[in-house]
Symmetry: C2
Subunit: 219 residues, 2 copies
Amino acid sequence: MQSRIVEVRQGILKKNDLLARDLRQRFAAADLFVVNLVSSPGAGKTTFLQATLTSLRARCRVAALVGDLATERDAERLKQSGAPVRQIVTGTVCHLEAEMVGSALADWDLAALDFLFIENVGNLVCPASYDLGENLRVVLLSVTEGEDKPLKYPTIFSGADLAILTKMDLAEAVGFDRDEALHNIQEVRPGLEVLETSARSGLGMEGWLEKLARSRAIS
Amino acid sequence: MQSRIVEVRQGILKKNDLLARDLRQRFAAADLFVVNLVSSPGAGKTTFLQATLTSLRARCRVAALVGDLATERDAERLKQSGAPVRQIVTGTVCHLEAEMVGSALADWDLAALDFLFIENVGNLVCPASYDLGENLRVVLLSVTEGEDKPLKYPTIFSGADLAILTKMDLAEAVGFDRDEALHNIQEVRPGLEVLETSARSGLGMEGWLEKLARSRAIS
């Protein structure tokens, strides 16, 4: 049984990789920069993205896709930024796949956008294995989750292009050990850039927006 | 492709259900009460379980199994309680399965134990679908994750026998809306019992230990 599971998983991945390649070409042709946000549930993806969309809207054309097992709550929250947002409801599926992204974007004019943010399903395991054709994969880690998470969920950290510490305003209240967290990230993915942020206090948000602009310019 | 995935998943579940039934019979024969703890990463399962094991050890015979993708860190932390602990490393698998539990317990004398705690992989999606033969499935939700998690991950809440709010000592710092969280849990699983706890301050821990004793007595 185990070997059959592995075979099928490889089959899905191969198909996903092909679809992700098509998406990547479509994004490049539209000069669109795509960011895939992954994290555990409750790490603050939606709050972080809401603040990002609200700030970026003043400077450029942005939109978002958001994946969840159930409800359209996150899309409703993100729409408050004024940006176009579409929800992908995955049912029992623990991650977004390239096919879901392709379907959700089918009738969008991508050339009318500068940035597309994809908020993945809250999960530190499954989304690591599914390329969505993004330019930048960002893993978020909140200070409330514990400094050991990079060691315990290495794949999602080693596959990321950028790590963002969230909820830094709570660092003291939860006894967050910043040095240990940074050390553990570097253990798993040496050289990975890390930004320290709080969407609530605004800490680090300007640096994040500059990082986005730089990344888009060189992409 | 999609239909084939579903077929295989059903195949795995059927096999898991059969193995879980065997485990349940084995647990009953040994008069062992088994608790399966599920939550997102960083909800505080290990800290909560460490406090539980430390308290229970004075009164009865306890042990734990702990599942993670990588590292033996949680097992090392739990062993500080003095209870026997075994780590299950799942690699890339996002949940524990009955077969993994059966293998980990193969050489244990279950009749020498009163309680076995299984700390599942940190994930609000996948563990919901895998019966481990437990008597009590407990879903933990930390106040730092957001009150909407029951609505966004309904399956894991609707399949639980008990919900435990953790990190209640941080409720004020994070602006936790207790009424909304309780309301959302009841939306998904009407009547589900909810305990409010903090392993750090000790809040609610005695009530949890009493709940365990009562549940074991009537099982």
